[in-house]
């Protein structure tokens, strides 16, 4: 079994990361009834016996002593990380995994990436190496950060390029939180576009998530729970709707939104942690969903978002789950994949779902989904037998779809509006090593990416004939 290391950078990254660890512990507690440190647990946690003098690492098979998260927490101000260390998760992290500073990045990508990036380079690399050394077989780094701020976006993308340098063979999956149009950080378009360039160059896969979509989903859930029809009761214990039953007792404002992203990470790794009839490992995700190196933005959608404890015919509910995965309300960015072009799609199913259910739904939904001409049957499927807590089954869909193009175009527009006026530019140019060319290069990288999606979109309506086959001389 392989291990993964989570690197959480900045305020957003650390808050989401915190929810993730909380939910991961809960999920494993639910499944692992005998208190043994098994392979599944070891993918995200180390087992440490603090009484031993050599650092105390315990191997798989023994009883759980002390679980330590395989994580590196980075933030350039102390509030969030210290909050985590005061909270109930303090046992799960030790001080060697943390990197903090005092003054923050001032919502400035250049400060995060260049100033702190060079100042803390060695320290970061050491901590990453340490985390990697604890792993038997490191498969993947999960990087979590926001795009709009300074630390997450600047230092986070610096960490990304360090990961590529130091661990070129290890997969890098980035969960990036994109700012919505009404973001309160004025320089977020600059930060996002500068970070995008790094993501396009150095990440293996990016899972873009938009705050506005999370807000809409959370509102929908609370509407359902208030408005429930008579006879319809929402099950409260599911991991998506609430962190209840987890380690932290009270729910803070962004918690519900962060829960959803945390679930995304849990579900992506479920098939490599637990048994199933059709396993899907993390390295298979990049291999199947990234047809061209730069087009690695995968739109996630999670269903079901809430569980109704009423008497519904199980099959219909299962089929509904599949339909929902493609509806625009369940996507984690503001996009409508059904009306754009699919390059590839992965369906990761958890719970008691068999291959016939999967096939039936794929056949049912396929006609309404436009796929690119050279990948007409391009589905990657995975079946994991362990469902998430509180649900009988769940589905995570990852779509490499041109519907990210409008999101990126909007981002580019917001960037250009500021850049044309050279607004706030001096804050960036003051930083050592930051040149104006960085801005123009980032802009052209983004434009080139949009062009590539545009080319593919253009093929959508056209009927592309089969490529002429090789002819054999007889």
């Amino acid at each position: 079994m392989t291990q993964s290391v989570v690197v959480q950078v900045g305020q957003c990254g650390n808050q989401v990361g915190c929810r993730f660890w909380d939910l991961a512990l809960r999920e494993h507690a639910h499944v692992n009834k005998r208190g043994l440190y098994d392979e599944a647990l070891s993918s995200f946690f180390r087992n440490v016996d603090p009484r031993k003098s050599d650092g105390g690492a315990c191997c798989v098979g023994g009883r759980i002593q002390h679980l330590k998260a395989r994580a590196v927490l980075i933030d350039m101000e102390e509030g969030v990380v210290h909050g985590i260390l005061q909270g109930p998760l303090r046992e799960v992290f030790d001080s060697t995994q943390l990197l903090t500073d005092v003054s923050g990045s001032g919502n400035n990508w250049a400060v995060g990436n260049l100033m702190y990036g060079s100042a803390y380079r060695d320290s970061i690399v050491n901590k990453l190496r340490k985390a990697a050394e604890h792993c038997d077989c490191l498969q993947c780094f999960f990087l979590i950060h926001s795009m709009g701020g300074g630390t997450g976006s600047g230092l986070g993308t610096r960490v990304l390029s360090l990961l590529e340098e130091e661990f070129p063979d290890v997969c890098r999956i980035v969960t990036a939180m994109y700012p919505s149009a009404e973001d309160d950080v004025i320089t977020s378009p600059y930060n996002s576009v500068l970070a995008m360039r790094e993501l396009t160059e150095h990440a293996d896969c990016v899972l873009p998530v938009e705050n506005q979509s999370l807000v809409d989903i959370v509102n929908k859930i609370s509407l359902m729970s208030h408005d429930a029809k008579p006879g319809c009761v929402l099950k409260k214990e599911s991991t998506v709707t609430s962190g209840q039953g987890g380690v932290s007792p009270t729910e803070r404002p962004f918690d519900a939104m962060n829960n959803i992203v945390a679930n995304l990470l849990l579900n992506i790794t479920s098939s490599s942690r637990f048994d199933g009839s059709l396993n899907m490992d993390l390295n298979e995700i990049a291999n199947n969903l990234v047809p061209f190196p730069r087009l690695h933005y995968l739109v996630p959608s999670l269903t079901p978002l809430y569980t109704l404890a009423d008497v519904n015919i199980p099959t219909r509910r299962l089929d509904q789950m599949f339909s929902d995965a493609f509806s625009k309300e369940h996507q984690l960015i503001r996009a409508d994949p059904k009306h754009s072009l699919y390059l590839a799609c992965a369906l990761m199913v958890r719970g008691n779902v068999q291959v016939s259910d999967l096939r039936r739904n794929i056949e049912r939904l396929r006609p309404s989904l436009p796929f690119v001409s050279w990948n007409q049957e391009g589905w990657k499927t995975g079946l994991c037998s362990v469902p998430p807590v509180g649900h009988a089954h769940s589905l995570l869909a990852l779509a490499n779809n041109t519907c990210v193009k409008p999101t990126f175009m909007e981002l580019r527009d917001r960037f250009t509006k500021l850049y044309k006026k050279k607004a706030h530019l001096h804050h960036y140019l003051h930083v050592d090593g930051m040149e104006q060319s960085a801005f123009s290069e980032a802009l052209s990288s983004l434009s080139a990416l949009i062009e590539e999606y545009h080319h593919l979109d253009a093929t959508k309506a056209r009927l592309i004939p089969d490529a002429p086959r090789l002819s054999i001389a007889r």
């Binding site: 079994m1 392989t2 392979e39 498969q139 009839s277 396993n279 291999n287 990948n375 990657k380």
Partner: protein, 444 residues
């Protein structure tokens, strides 16, 4: 004579476990001592405590499936896998043929060859190897192809019969067509014959004949195991002179693999029905064989929805065959295996009709007939047909067409190139398979 099975990847290990299960129950439940003894000797070895251990080597690049298969076998109580007969790593092949073939295969070659050698040493006489794998993923296809090559190098005079599972047409893995094309092109050079099961067809058997509502991969694997068992369990062959044949794989090869350009074998079995219905059905050889013959020539793999309109074209008409015209399936050679009551009185003339065969083999050489008076797997009478015919032509062509379309846009190629194969290698594989398609299309 013993057969060593090499189970590769998730599919190979899951199918293999079901196969040994079927063969063990068949050998054990049947009250014919010679049959049981031959079957056990062929696929199992006896430990000093009298337990049956499968003559199998289990290989996968990640441990979960092997652990599952081994514990499932041990739970059955009747047989198990050898404690040390498996090899796994921590991280899979990522659905990448090039990763399996160029990196992981060579890296673990010594360990795997050692396991195979140990298993071969337990055999008094080696009948041959059966690697079991899928073509869609990375380990079964890539590592499987590499291991087949190793078997060829180390045991040049042994037979190698590859069993392949072809994935659902509508995708289990997005790059499945690339992996399939690369595997088939290489195996064509390495393997003596390639026996194929298609997930789509087996799925239909489960839903329409076996009436299973929620079909799982275990159901699919059990059907494959039943069909394979029908081929591999002991039989009396023309060459074996009244005793159970001791060269099952060799005789299968000489029956069917008569030309190096024609190596694709398909299987169909009759009857196949829900086990609850078997007790209420009566079978007669004429009916079974009539259906089976029509299944062969109309290229239908199951006895539901057979197209009875298809018949061999009259001998006088010029036979120009193209892929789209006509649904008549021409055979190169057929192996008919009959098991159960009254086998000796079964009339198999329908399969000797020269019209169903290509013109360059006389029908009495094209048809081979094996019999066993022992009923197989609860069916009082059953027939298995292994066929070297145009049956796989259409699925093969579809697979190559989809892979070629993807290749034309160079999608995913960077994922393969980074592990060590080039666009040239892809082109070579495509060329080989177009050759195979052309050969089969022109059978007349």
């Amino acid at each position: 004579m013993s057969v060593v099975t090499v189970q590769l990847g998730q599919c190979g290990n899951q199918v293999g476990q079901e196969l040994f299960d079927v063969m063990c129950s068949d050998a054990r439940d049947v009250h014919r001592k010679t049959y049981s003894a031959v079957s056990c000797e062929r696929f199992f070895r006896q430990t000093t405590q009298g337990a049956l251990e499968a003559r199998a080597v289990l290989i996968d690049m990640e441990p979960k499936v092997i652990n599952h298969s081994m514990s499932k076998a041990a739970k059955s109580g009747r047989w198990r896998y050898g404690e040390t007969s498996h090899f796994s790593q921590k991280q899979g092949s990522g659905n990448n043929w090039a990763n399996g073939y160029c990196v992981l295969g060579p890296r673990h070659r010594d360990a795997v060859e050692e396991l195979v050698r140990r298993e071969v040493e337990h055999c008094d006489m080696l009948a041959g190897f059966i690697p079991i794998m899928s073509v869609a993923g990375g380990t079964g296809s890539g590592v499987g192809t590499f291991i087949t090559q190793c078997l060829r190098d180390v045991y040049p005079s042994s037979f190698v019969l590859n069993h392949l599972t072809w994935p659902y047409g509508t995708g289990e893995v997005i790059v499945q067509n690339y992996n399939s094309v690369l595997t088939l092109a290489h195996l064509y050079q390495l393997s003596d014959a390639i026996l194929v099961h298609e997930n789509d067809i087996v799925h239909k058997i489960c839903s329409q004949l076996l009436k299973i509502k929620q079909i799982s991969f275990s159901d699919i694997n059990r059907v494959i195991a039943h069909q394979l068992g029908g081929v591999l369990q002991p039989t009396l062959t023309p060459a074996s002179c009244g005793a159970y044949s001791r060269h099952p794989i060799g005789e299968l090869m000489s029956a069917l693999a008569c030309h190096p350009e024609y190596k694709l074998l398909s299987v169909c079995t009759i009857p196949q029905m829900a086990s609850s219905s078997i007790a209420f059905s009566t079978f007669s050889w004429p009916a079974l064989l009539k259906h089976l013959r029509q299944m062969l020539i109309s290229n239908s793999k199951m006895e539901g929805g057979i197209d009875w309109q298809v018949c061999p074209p009259p001998a006088s008409a010029g036979r120009s065959r193209s892929l789209s015209a006509g649904s008549f399936n021409t055979s190169l050679a057929n192996l008919l295996i009959l098991r159960g009551k009254d086998v000796y009185s079964a009339e198999t003339g329908g399969f000797e009709d020269p019209a169903i065969y290509t013109s360059w083999l006389p029908p009495d050489e094209a048809l081979s007939l094996w019999k066993s008076p022992v009923p197989f797997n609860k069916y009082e009478k059953s027939a298995t047909l292994v066929s070297n015919s145009q049956a796989l032509l259409r699925p093969l062509d579809d697979m190559v067409r989809k892979a070629w379309n993807m290749f034309a846009s160079r999608a995913y190629i960077h994922q393969y190139v980074k592990f060590g194969i080039s666009e040239e290698d892809f082109l070579d594989s495509f060329t080989s398979l177009e050759q195979v398609i052309s050969s089969y299309s022109e059978l007349q």
